[in-house]
Structure formats: structure tokens, C-alpha cells
């Protein structure tokens, strides 16, 4: 017999256990690096030039994410157009304050654009860290240019967040996810964004003649540190306008691509394509769409002056669109295809900023000249109204409404002047919101 008695058998069992345990412990598992994606710590600690380019492409790609949701949010509340949807009723209830409906702090129209913009900010922060730490062959000037690029984009994204958050204020210092900075007030937020743009301008000025990466065709003409600086200053002019720093706005315009005689559509753009995985221009729907569509607020057509060629931004539908007690005969046709580029900022806005800042600083002639530049170009006669600052501002807001239709300005402009109560109410219990709620989980 192999085992004489229970004791030898127990001994054998013990040996077996020990043997198995020993065999087992000798069996080490190799850690598996992420088989699907590059990991953050590798990129931050030592990125190659190619990986830096990847980060920049990531930034530019994601700047476009949820633009449709953002523009629908500000466009619908600003009564520029209705967003009818077969699948989501909240475009016509929450956004328009139907009945007792209010904006929710945890619903896509509040959270998604917020998340997307801060995700780009994060990518900008990663780019800056990667630029600082890389051992790739790039010069000090190129590093400076790259920082200027990252900060400019970051400032733009933060401004987009602030446009919706308004008096809630925003966080600007978000580099360390474990130690986020405080929420700043509206004024502090605006001045922090302005400072960031100024820092970026300094970096760009020290940035030599090239970025250590390439930009998309949306930046054509503004893709060197010196020309990108003009884009930076254009954004600075917008920020100065928002914080009523009129002379600052005029100064900034001087450094920008502002050109009274220039093409209104000169500027910097988001680009779209049908390439695999790329994004399409979400603001485009085909004519006479059913199900998902954008139709102009009827007042766009009733308020526009006869002969104004900006009527082409809307097109009459075959059938009136009707949903939730709202109706319109006019499709929004700001874009002609789903790959049309969408402006980040363009010359027409700069001319209107010039007009507004001039009017506010008493430079009436400049203001009228700029207004007429806009009016004439759109097939209208010279401005014939009064020239008090208030009257000029009325006219400028009107021109902004039609010139920048569907580009996310109307609501912000009316809010800047405390005129949200002048926006049309379509159903008796509708509301015009002043701002979006701070997203849930943000405190």
C-alpha cells in the first residue's frame, strides 16, 4: 500500500498543498499594457513630435464636438430658431421654458457641451505638459509657440463654457484633476480668459516663425505664430466686448485680422468632412427635413428689412413644420452642406465689434461707417437712424442678429444689454432663460 495509514496520507496531502502552492506562486502574470490606446503618463513624460501632433489634432477635432448641442442651446433660447426633434421633446420644452419646465443641471443640453469644452481644455493642458517634458528636437521658440497655441485654444473653449454658465462663473485653473481651482465670478472669469489670451499673445510673439506641428485648413492664413496671433487678438476683442472694455476691444482689433474692407467670411473655422470617423457640420439639415430639423423663428422673417440678402439664411419649406404648439415655414439654411466649415470667429463679427466699441466710446462716425459697411454689403441702404449711443447699439444688435444668425450670438448679445425680456415669447408660459444651470457634479 502506498500510504500506510492516515498519518502518512495526511503528510502526503500536506506535501501536495505545499507543492501546488509553490508551483502556483512561481506562476507570475505579466502586466498587460493598454492594448487599445496610448496611455497618458507616457505622452506626458516623453512625447515624440508625432505624438505632439496627435494631441493638436485631438484638440482641433474635439473643439467641434457638441457644437450642435451648444448652438441649439443658445440659438433656441435666443429665439433664433426652433429645434424640432422626433426623439427628444426637451428642445421645445426645457429650452423654451414651456409651462413649468426648467433647464436641468444633468441633461445633455447642459452637460455635454460643458464636458466637451473642458475635455479640449484638458488636452491643451496635456499638450503644454508634453511640450515642457519632451526630449524631442524642438527649439525654445517652437515650445513658446506651442504654449501660445494651447493657451489661445483653451481661452476660446473656456469662453464657450462661460457663455452658457454666465453668472455661475467657471473654473479656469483645471490642470490638476485632483485639485481643481475655484469657481470664479463672471467678471473674474472674463478677466482670467483675457489674461490667458494675453499670456498666449506673449508666447506667440516669442514663438519664432513656425509651430512644431501643423494646423488644419480651418486655420489657413493663421497657421504661423505671427498670424495665429491675429486670431488670438480677434478672440481678445470678443472677450473685451463681453466685459465692456471698449477701448481694450479696439486695441485688440488692431492686432487682429479685422478689415473693414475685407471679406466678411475671412477668419478661422471649424472644418468638417465625410472622411471615416470625422465629424459633420451638425448645424446642417437638408431642406424640408422631417423628424429632426431646425426652423427659423418666424420673427426672423417678419423682422428682416426688405431687400436684406441675409434672408437667404432661411429657406421656405414645402410644408410648415409643426411641433409642440410651435410652427414655422422656414428652414435654417446658414450652411449649404454637412461639410461646410463653421466659423470660430470671422471678419463680419470683428467689424460689428468695431462698430459697437466705437459707439460705446463716442466714435460715432466710426460706428456709423462700420454699420453701413455691413448694411451696404447685405443690400441695404445706409443707416438713417439716430446717432446716440443707445440708438446705434439698437442698430448694431439688429445687424448682429442677422449677420451672425445661427452662430450663437443673439442670446448673448441681448443678455449683455439686459434685453432678454425683448425676445419673443411664443406660448403663454414660456420663459427666456438667462443662463444654464451649473452641471450636476460640478460642486
Amino acid at each position: 500500500m502506498f500510504f500506510k495509514n492516515i498519518w502518512t496520507q495526511k503528510l502526503a496531502t500536506f506535501l501536495l498543498v505545499a507543492g501546488l502552492a509553490a508551483g502556483y506562486s512561481s506562476c507570475q502574470l505579466d502586466d498587460i499594457p493598454d492594448p487599445n490606446n496610448p496611455s497618458l503618463n507616457v505622452i506626458e513624460s516623453n512625447a515624440s513630435l508625432g505624438e505632439i501632433q496627435n494631441l493638436v489634432d485631438g484638440i482641433q477635432a474635439w473643439m467641434r464636438d457638441r457644437l450642435g448641442t451648444y448652438l441649439d442651446g443658445v440659438g433656441v433660447i435666443g429665439r433664433e430658431y426652433y429645434r424640432f426633434s422626433g426623439s427628444d421633446p426637451r428642445f421645445t420644452s426645457d429650452l423654451l421654458g414651456k409651462g413649468n419646465a426648467v433647464l436641468d443641471d444633468n441633461t445633455f443640453y447642459t452637460t455635454r457641451p460643458f464636458q466637451s469644452r473642458y475635455r479640449v481644455v484638458k488636452n491643451c493642458n496635456i499638450l503644454m505638459t508634453a511640450i515642457e517634458n519632451t526630449s524631442a528636437p524642438i527649439s525654445a521658440a517652437e515650445k513658446s509657440a506651442a504654449l501660445g497655441y494651447a493657451k489661445t485654444i483653451m481661452a476660446h473653449e473656456l469662453l464657450m463654457v462661460l457663455n452658457q454658465q454666465y453668472k455661475n462663473g467657471i473654473r479656469v485653473d483645471v490642470a490638476d484633476p485632483d485639485n481643481l481651482g475655484p469657481f470664479l465670478s463672471l467678471e473674474e472669469s472674463l478677466s482670467a480668459i483675457a489674461s490667458l489670451l494675453d499670456e498666449a499673445a506673449t508666447d506667440l510673439q516669442a514663438g519664432g516663425d513656425r509651430f512644431p506641428f501643423s494646423l488644419t485648413s480651418g486655420f489657413a492664413g493663421y497657421d504661423t505664430p505671427a498670424t495665429f496671433l491675429k486670431f488670438n487678438r480677434a478672440l481678445a476683442a470678443r472677450v473685451d466686448l463681453y466685459r465692456q472694455d471698449w477701448s481694450g476691444a479696439l486695441d485688440a482689433l488692431n492686432g487682429s485680422f479685422f478689415d473693414l474692407g475685407g471679406d466678411f467670411y475671412d477668419g478661422v473655422y471649424y472644418i468638417f468632412s465625410t472622411a471615416g470617423g470625422d465629424q459633420l457640420n451638425e448645424m446642417w439639415y437638408p431642406l424640408n427635413s422631417t423628424g429632426e430639423l431646425r426652423v427659423a423663428h418666424p420673427s426672423y422673417v417678419t423682422d428682416i428689412e426688405a431687400g436684406d440678402d441675409r434672408i437667404s439664411k432661411v429657406t421656405m419649406r414645402n410644408d410648415e413644420a409643426f411641433q409642440d404648439g410651435l410652427s414655422s415655414q422656414w428652414d435654417v439654411t446658414v450652411y449649404q452642406s454637412n461639410t461646410d466649415p463653421m466659423p470660430i470667429i470671422r471678419n463680419e463679427e470683428l467689424i460689428l465689434i468695431f462698430a459697437e466699441a466705437s459707439a460705446q466710446t463716442g466714435k460715432t462716425d466710426d460706428a456709423v461707417m462700420a454699420i453701413n459697411t455691413i448694411r451696404n454689403a447685405h443690400g441695404l441702404a445706409d443707416y438713417s437712424g439716430g446717432t446716440s449711443a443707445e440708438e446705434l447699439i439698437d442698430e448694431i444688435l439688429k445687424q448682429r442678429r442677422f449677420s451672425l444668425f445661427g452662430e450663437g450670438h443673439r442670446w448673448i448679445d441681448m443678455r449683455r444689454y439686459g434685453r432678454l425680456n425683448e425676445l419673443p415669447i411664443d406660448r403663454p408660459d414660456d420663459d427666456v432663460w438667462e443662463q444654464f444651470p451649473r452641471p450636476a457634479g460640478e460642486n
Binding site: S26, S39, G86, A101, N106, I271, A275
Partner: protein, 986 residues
């Protein structure tokens, strides 16, 4: 061989020798059934020892008895065990075994390598046999066959789409993010149960709105298993029973044992079933008139409506789209048999099950070959292999943000719309929606096809066979290999693809290669003291490798009518690789004191590459005690025939989801360049598994010679170190991060009552009633409460909050007393569930039926919301909701939009006649001994009672998510099924 680490085990095995025992005398005899037929392969054992033998081809056996006197135990599946005294003077016995074992004598597989007699079990382990599984009616899928048949499960069908898609929760929710579906093991092979999405979000934009979760309604791969092949299913519901399975057993274990051949005459079974499906709950349509049309669609619509009425062109699109009653069938052939050394079982099933929506349906071919061979006296080999080919056309349903799914475009279209094709087959555009649902149903393909091989082998070596002890070495390997192809094809002539709508057609091809391989080694040692005490020691080593590679190609802007991927202007490819390596060991000691007290202690250790540290071992202990009070000498009750008290404790784990330890940069594309963007979820490099601790106590009572059996079980299951995808301030750039940050508790009660109210020669009635309930609670949450799942608080959402149920449904409220504006409107957890299973036999007639009652449990019903918005709700004009009686139901619910989420959170309870079957048996004798026949009709979900305001309260827009099932957005509607079956046994 570092990968598998089998070397030490093999070395140990080689050290040991097979030894045979010395005998006092040899007992011989013959075993027959009650009709005198020899029973082949009956296990004969000398009680209290490890000595055993099998009966041969003639039912005869020989066994060496080590003592002068002994008791022989005869056990055989499907027969009541028999004990017979033998002695040196009286060594020859004739044994007759009676059919129909009582439930207590069942043998229950509980361990990786061992089984336990139910009467000695310390846990409530559910067991479902072939008769319950497929005996009443024909089943579409294996998991769908489990409804209502055992206590402790919450089973939810995700939609009515053919081909499955079911989530099973055992004893409540066991994880909020990691796997919450049980582990499925078939004949020792670990099964993959992935649900691989079709990727038609590209067209539906379902993830572009309020939710970024997958809403493609894929089926889960357990649906491939053919229910007809299954002999028994054992369900280990929690850690106290499943601890030995370690870190994959956190959500329970479902052990499937397939049919195997028996020695004896070759048996041939043939069955042919014809089936028909019908819409389970037709809702009808709103009764329109001109005023209602003007209110819902605007005054311009009235003349269009009136013209349609005048022309008699008011269509019932629900019936046209959702109630296609087509003939289906299932053909089944199985052949089994063998001799005393070799046994085989083959099964072949072909099934064609057309769906109620046109161009949908499910086809499956399954072939199984199970072989058992005794290689030598001391070594057995068991091989199981299964090839499955399945194809499911699942339709295009669920939520979208493009107005294109069949569900959304149907509900947004009024009945006066003309959607029918002209004589050339051209469909008109639907002016009311993004798509024409008739065209979409006719032209869109959403096909999921699978080729799968599941194969495994077990080699058992009897190292020691002695009077008082035995030792077996069991080596097992298994492999689950499949390739899945999902083709989602949207031709460019679709309304939502042409003329600049959509992308001029889209073809989305998803291919998945999946491989799970497992190698296990077990050493089982039994020792009998001779005084009625039995020790059983087990050691085991297990290793599993998981590899899955999913490649999804999305082609758009198609060339003409082509559907080949390269006939497109734009192609986008994604790949997801999933790699996991798990290693574990266990030790377990069982002590059986005279069948009076059964003690078990065990320990499992596990490590996995999914953990932050792949080499950190996590330990899971278990311990249990069962006391058979009736086995004690003092027991003397004529009424109470058996009484068992049991208590079990155990821990098990749940690995974090793959990838939780990485913070990736994900690819994004702009202008043809691919960039890197920070992932939305921040990884945790030191993430660890969730740990479940379960305590279960119960008692089993047998009355009237065990004709009435009552089992009562209570449990408490806590899950610590919950892995959560915690919401973080989005201003950090992340929207969430992985953390081990909470604890969850499930408490529940399970009661089963098995009775045989009537047992006469020509009439018998067997009945089993089960009752169960579960209550879950988030006991600790180290992050602020947060909403998750569904579409935000306006429309109802889940909320994870300390001290509350993890499945509570909350939403915005207009209650001025509510501080935070969020109120609880329901809970997805049912109040309780009951199953009522009965079989009645009268002469040759057999009637079986199963009622399943789910009391309570709420859904978020957004189909109602959408039908209200389009004015198409069938109950729009009823006035049953508004307490003031002013508003119609539609108006009342719409007035609540943005104010309160209450109207969309609905009671989803139901009472169903899940299964019913009436069969007539024609005995062999009446058919000249050629064969026996069984003919009958049966049905599934034939009767349904519920108040829920849609097609079926069982639904999930989000598939088998850990939580956030129970959300409805225009799903594929459910069907009821009728069958006619004829079975012949040769």
C-alpha cells in the same frame, strides 16, 4: 510552460500510483427497473467506503466488499437510490430500482470537481432539469427558458427581437459597473456571454443625445446554447455557494450539464415542432377626429386627414409592422447509447423562428457530440463538443436621435399617412418622420451571425482506490471559440439616407473573434473512518485566458446599391482588444458526520491582469454547516419526515472591468488625420476587485414521507470595494473615473414548496411554488450621490445614493416641499416574484403550466412620452390620470414634461402564463414496439396580465447594463408563441 503553469500539477500526478484494494468477499447481483429491464451503468458503492463499481450491459455487477457485512448503495439518475444489506454468507442480491427520485435525492453539482447530494447541501442551490427546461414548451434560448423556474433570479428580456438578449440577476444587483451577469459554465467550459453592439449608432445617433450608452439591443452570446442539449442546470446564487469559483462568481454561477449517453440500447429521439409568434399586447391606435388632428398636427393637417378618411385610407400600421404571423419550425434529432466502456450522445437541432416584424427572425443549427470512455480501470475521459451556427435578424429599433428607427418613425406617424410602396416597389417619403417604417423594415438589415465551437475534455485518474479512501486527479481543459459578424446595412434609397439625409447609405460590419480557454486541475481525496465519518479534501488550480477582438468598419457614401465595404467613399475602422488572464487556486475540506452534520471549509485565491497589480492574490474563504436533524437517533416524528438546518458563509469577487486601470488617449479624426484625445474616463492604476460576502441560512422540511417539501432561505449579501465609474467634475476634462468606493447590500427571502397532491395510478399532480424577494441598499458611498443611466432627471433616471436602493428611479419633481427638486418615483426592483409550476398526468395525457408573477418593479417608459408628443398614444384621449378630471391622459402627461418625471415611471409588474403544454403519449406497446410518440400543443407567454402602458413591461433600451435596465424607448415589441410538437422515441 509559464502560460498555464500546469507543470507542478502534472509532476504531482506522476508521483502517485494507482492501487487496488484487498477484499473480504465479492458481492454480485443484478439491477433492474420495475419492469424487469436491466439497468446499465448504475453506480454501486459499499456504504462508508470508497469502494464502487458499475453495472454492466446486463445490469450485473461485482463488487469487492472489504468487511464481512456491508450496505450496498445503488444510485442512478432518474431513479430513487436503494440500499441493500450484503454479507459473506449472503453475497448475491437482486435489486429493483423505482423511477422518479424525490427531489432530496438529486445530486447537485456545486464544486468545480465534485457534487453533493441535495440532502447534504448547506446552500439553496436551484436545479432545473430537462423536463422543466424544455419539457413544457419549446424555448427560443437557454436563458429565456429559466424564467420563473427557480427562486432568487430577476430575469429581464431586453426586447422582443429574435435571438435573445436577456439579463439575469441572481439575488439582486451585485455590481454597479462590473459584470452583473452570472458566470456560465457548460461541462466545465467557461462561456463567453458578451453582447457585442452592432454599431448602428452611426445612423441612429442614439448616443448623441441624452445618453452615451449603447442602445443597439445586441443579443448576448449565452443565447447560442441549445436548450435541448441540457440535462440539468444548477444555479449557485451567491458567494456562500459559489466561493470556490472565486473572482468570476460575484454575480453567481450557472452550471450547465449536457445530456450524455447511457450504456444500453441505442436511443433515437426525433422531434418536430411548428411555431407561430404573435404580437403579445396589441395597443391599437388613438381614435382620431378633425379636432384632435388640428390640436396635435396643426390646422393644415386637417384636410389631409379628412381626405384620407374619405378615401378609406386609415391604416393600422401596428398590425402591418408588428404582427406578422409566420410559420416557424424546429427539428431535433438525438441519438445516444453505448456500452459499459464507451458512451455517446449526439444532438442536432435546426431552428427557424421568424419574428413578428417583417424580415426579422432567428435561425440556429446546433450539433453536439458528447463522448465518455473508460480508458483503463483507473482512468476515464469525457469529451463534450458543440458546434453552433446562429443567425439573428433583429430589426432596427430602440432610441435614436435621427427619427429613423422603426420604433421611433412608427410612433411619430399618424394612421392617415400613406407609407405603402407604389406598384414598382418605391416607398414614398414619410412626411411625419425621418423614416418610412415600412421601407425601413423592408430594406434595413441588422443581422448577427455566429459560428461557435465549444469543446472541453475531462480526464479523471483514480490515483487511490482503497477500502477507506480514494483519490482522484481531474484534469480539465475547455475552449469557447466563436466568430461573430454583425451586418448593419442601410441602403442609400432609404428616406433617411438619400438626398442629403444621412450619408447616402451606410454599411456597418462588426466582426468579433472571441476565445476563452481554461485549464483546471483538481485533486480530490475521500477518506472514510469506518465509523460513518467521511472526509473529502480538494485542491484545485484554475487558469483562464480571455481574448476578444472586435473590429468595426463603418462605410458610408455608398456606391450605387453596393453593400461591400470597399464600395464606399468613406470608411472608418475601430478595433477593441480585450485581454484578460486569471489564475486561481482553491482548497476545500468537507466533513460528513454520519449524514447528520456536514461541515465544509474552503479558501480560494485569485489574481487577474484586470487588477491594478496583476500578481496580487485576493483570498476568498467559505464555510458552511448542514444539520440533518432527522438523521439523529432521537428523531422520532412520523409527520416530519425530514428536517435540515443549514448555514453558509462565503466570499467571492468581481474583477474590475477590463481597462479600468488605464487612462487612455483615444483616437479622434479631423480632416483625415487621427489625433489623440484624453479619454472621458480616468483610470485607476491600483484598482482592485469587488468583494462579496454572503451569509445564507435556511431550513428544509419534508412532510409525509417527503411528499411535501418546504425550503426556506434567507440571505444577506454585501458587496464591498464596489468599482464605480464615479462622476467627477467635468471641468477636470474627465467625466468620470474608476474607483473602489462603495458598498452594497442585498437581503432576501426565498421559499419553495414542492408537493405531490395526487399520486394515483392513472392520475398524478406535481406542483412547485416558489416565492422570492430581494431588497438592495447602497450602504456606503464615498462620493457624492449621482444620477446615472437613462436620459437625465427630466425623464427619470437612476440615482446612486447612500442609504437608498441602487435601483431607485428618480426624477425632477414639482413638489414644493422637496429641497433638491429630485424625488423618488419608483424602483426597478420587484416587490416580490412567484413561480407556480404544475404537471398533471391523466392516463396518457400530460398538462404542464408555469405561471410567473412579478409584483411591482418600475420602468421608465419613454415610448409613452414620445407617442404623447406626436399625439399617437392609444390612451391619449382617456381621462384616467388627471385627478381633477380636466385633462386627457396625453395632455396630462405632456403638461408634466419638464416639471415632474412622475408620468413616465410606471409599474412594470406582470402575471404571465409563461409556459403551458398539453401532450398525449402513445406508448411503445401500442405502436408495435417500434417507438413511442408524444404529440401536443404548447405556448409561451400565452396569457399576460399587466397595466403597463406599452407592449411589454419587460424591456431594456440599454441591454444588460449592470444597472439601468428597465428603460423603454420604442423597442422591438414582444411576442407570444404557439407550438405544435410531435416527438418519437425509437
Amino acid at each position: 510552460m509559464r502560460l498555464w503553469c500546469t507543470k507542478p500539477v502534472l509532476l504531482l500526478a506522476a508521483m502517485l500510483l494507482s492501487i487496488s484494494a484487498m477484499a473480504q468477499f465479492t458481492a454480485t447481483g443484478k439491477v433492474t427497473d420495475s419492469e424487469g429491464n436491466p439497468l446499465i451503468g448504475v453506480t454501486v458503492a459499499v456504504k462508508g467506503t470508497a469502494v464502487g463499481a458499475f453495472t454492466d450491459f446486463d445490469g450485473k455487477f461485482e463488487i469487492d466488499v472489504p468487511t464481512d457485512e456491508a450496505t450496498l448503495e445503488f444510485t442512478y439518475i432518474g431513479y430513487a437510490p436503494v440500499e441493500v444489506q450484503v454479507s459473506k454468507d449472503n453475497p448475491n442480491v437482486e435489486v429493483v430500482m423505482a423511477n422518479e427520485a424525490t427531489q432530496l435525492d438529486e445530486v447537485v453539482v456545486t464544486g468545480l470537481a465534485t457534487s453533493v447530494k441535495r440532502s447534504n447541501l448547506a446552500n439553496s442551490v436551484a436545479q432545473i432539469d430537462a423536463r422543466q427546461l424544455t419539457g413544457v414548451t419549446t424555448q427560443q434560448t437557454m436563458d429565456g427558458a429559466l424564467y420563473g423556474k427557480f427562486a432568487g433570479a430577476n430575469i429581464i428580456k431586453n426586447s422582443g427581437a429574435p435571438g435573445g438578449g436577456i439579463s439575469i440577476r441572481l439575488r439582486g444587483i451585485t455590481s454597479l459597473t462590473a459584470n452583473s451577469q452570472p458566470l456560465f459554465i457548460i461541462d466545465g467550459v467557461y462561456l463567453d456571454n458578451s453582447a457585442i453592439k452592432a454599431g448602428f449608432d452611426f445612423v441612429s445617433k442614439s448616443q448623441a443625445g441624452g445618453s452615451q450608452s449603447v442602445q443597439d439591443d445586441p443579443s448576448n452570446r449565452i443565447a447560442d446554447i441549445d436548450p435541448e442539449d441540457i440535462e440539468t442546470i444548477e444555479i449557485l446564487k451567491g458567494a456562500s455557494a459559489a466561493a470556490i469559483y472565486g473572482s468570476r462568481a460575484g454575480a453567481g454561477v450557472v452550471i450547465i450539464t449536457t445530456k450524455r449517453g447511457k450504456a444500453g440500447k441505442t436511443t433515437v429521439n426525433v422531434a418536430q415542432t411548428f411555431s407561430m409568434n404573435a404580437l403579445l399586447n396589441p395597443r391599437g391606435m388613438r381614435q382620431w377626429d378633425s379636432d384632435k388632428v388640428a390640436a396635435s398636427w396643426g390646422p393644415d393637417e386637417v384636410p389631409i386627414y379628412e381626405a384620407a378618411v374619405a378615401a378609406g385610407k386609415i391604416y393600422n400600421y401596428e398590425k402591418e409592422l408588428y404582427d406578422n404571423r409566420l410559420l416557424g419550425y424546429q427539428t431535433r434529432l438525438s441519438v445516444s447509447g453505448g456500452d459499459d466502456k464507451t458512451r455517446f450522445f449526439t444532438g442536432l437541432t435546426y431552428k427557424n423562428d421568424p419574428g413578428i416584424v417583417l424580415n426579422t427572425g432567428y435561425q440556429k443549427t446546433s450539433f453536439r457530440l458528447n463522448l465518455d470512455r473508460q480508458l483503463w480501470d483507473f482512468m476515464d475521459l469525457k469529451v463534450s463538443s458543440n458546434y453552433i451556427k446562429s443567425s439573428a435578424d433583429r430589426g432596427y429599433f430602440n432610441n435614436d436621435n435621427s427619427g429613423t428607427t422603426i420604433g421611433i418613425s412608427f410612433i411619430s406617424t399618424p394612421p392617415w399617412a400613406e407609407l405603402h410602396p407604389d406598384e414598382n416597389g418605391n416607398y414614398p417619403d414619410n412626411p411625419y418622420s425621418g423614416g418610412n417604417p415600412l421601407q425601413t423594415a423592408a430594406l434595413v438589415t441588422n443581422n448577427e451571425s455566429v459560428d461557435r465551437i465549444i469543446t472541453g475534455g475531462t480526464l479523471t485518474t483514480h490515483l487511490i482506490k482503497q477500502d477507506n479512501q480514494s483519490m482522484r486527479l481531474i484534469l480539465r481543459g475547455g475552449m469557447d471559440l466563436y466568430s461573430l459578424k454583425n451586418s448593419a446595412i442601410f441602403p442609400r434609397e432609404l428616406q433617411f439616407q438619400k438626398n442629403g439625409n444621412g450619408t447616402d447609405g451606410a454599411v456597418i460590419i462588426t466582426t468579433a473573434q472571441n476565445r476563452i480557454a481554461n485549464i483546471d486541475a483538481f485533486l480530490v481525496h475521500s477518506f472514510y473512518t469506518g465509523s460513518g465519518v467521511h472526509f473529502r479534501t480538494q485542491l484545485g488550480y484554475t487558469a483562464q485566458n480571455f481574448d476578444q477582438n472586435v473590429i468595426r468598419s463603418t462605410a458610408s457614401f455608398l456606391v450605387g446599391t453596393q453593400t461591400n465595404l470597399d464600395q464606399a467613399s468613406s470608411i472608418f475602422v475601430e478595433e477593441d482588444r480585450y485581454i484578460q488572464r486569471d489564475r486561481g487556486f482553491f482548497v476545500q475540506e468537507e466533513v460528513n458526520l454520519h449524514d447528520q452534520v456536514i461541515l465544509t471549509l474552503g479558501l480560494r485565491g485569485d489574481k487577474s491582469t484586470n487588477n491594478g497589480d496583476p500578481n496580487q492574490l485576493f483570498f476568498y474563504p467559505k464555510g458552511s454547516i448542514a444539520v440533518n436533524v432527522h438523521e439523529f437517533d432521537f428523531w422520532n416524528s412520523s409527520q416530519l419526515s425530514s428536517l435540515k438546518l443549514r448555514l453558509a458563509y462565503g466570499q467571492s469577487g468581481n474583477f474590475p472591468v477590463f481597462g479600468a486601470k488605464y487612462t487612455p488617449l483615444v483616437p479622434v479624426v479631423i480632416g483625415g488625420s487621427t489625433g489623440s484625445l484624453i479619454g472621458a474616463t480616468r483610470g485607476k492604476s491600483d484598482i482592485g476587485p469587488e468583494r462579496q460576502t454572503e451569509i445564507e441560512a435556511g431550513m428544509d422540511i419534508g412532510l409525509m414521507s417527503n411528499k411535501v417539501l418546504l425550503d426556506v432561505t434567507v440571505y444577506q449579501k454585501t458587496i464591498d470595494d464596489l468599482v464605480l465609474n464615479v462622476q467627477v467634475p467635468a471641468s477636470s476634462g474627465f467625466t468620470s473615473k474608476w474607483e473602489n468606493v462603495g458598498s452594497l447590500q442585498n437581503r432576501g427571502l426565498e421559499i419553495g414548496l414542492t408537493t405531490s397532491p395526487v399520486q394515483r395510478d392513472n392520475f398524478s399532480w406535481d406542483s412547485r411554488t416558489t416565492f422570492w424577494l430581494n431588497r438592495a441598499l447602497v450602504t456606503e458611498l464615498r462620493v457624492p450621490a449621482y444620477n446615472t443611466g437613462a436620459f437625465g432627471a427630466t425623464l427619470g433616471t437612476y440615482r446612486i445614493e447612500e442609504g437608498k436602493s441602487p435601483t431607485q428611479l428618480v426624477g425632477i419633481t414639482d413638489d414644493p416641499n422637496d429641497d433638491d427638486g429630485i424625488a423618488v418615483f419608483g424602483d426597478a426592483e420587484p416587490d416580490f416574484q412567484m413561480g407556480f409550476w404544475n404537471t398533471l398526468n391523466y392516463n396518457n395525457w400530460e398538462l404542464s403550466f408555469l405561471f410567473h408573477w412579478k409584483k411591482g418593479g418600475d420602468n421608465i417608459n419613454l415610448t409613452t412620452l414620445l407617442t404623447d408628443i406626436f399625439g399617437t398614444s392609444p390612451d391619449y384621449d382617456d381621462k384616467t390620470l388627471d385627478p381633477t378630471g380636466q385633462l386627457t391622459n396625453g395632455e396630462y402627461r405632456l403638461a408634466a414634461l419638464g416639471v415632474t418625471a412622475a408620468p413616465w415611471i410606471e409599474d412594470a409588474g406582470y402575471l404571465r402564463l409563461r409556459e403551458v403544454g398539453l401532450f398525449y403519449r402513445i406508448p411503445r406497446a401500442k405502436l408495435n414496439d417500434v417507438c413511442s410518440l408524444k404529440v401536443g400543443v404548447s405556448g409561451r407567454n400565452v396569457l399576460n396580465f399587466f397595466k403597463y402602458n406599452s407592449y411589454d413591461p419587460e424591456v431594456s433600451n440599454f441591454g444588460s447594463n449592470a444597472i439601468s435596465n428597465n428603460v423603454e424607448v420604442t423597442p422591438y415589441p414582444s411576442a407570444k408563441s404557439y407550438f405544435f410538437t410531435i416527438r418519437a422515441s425509437f
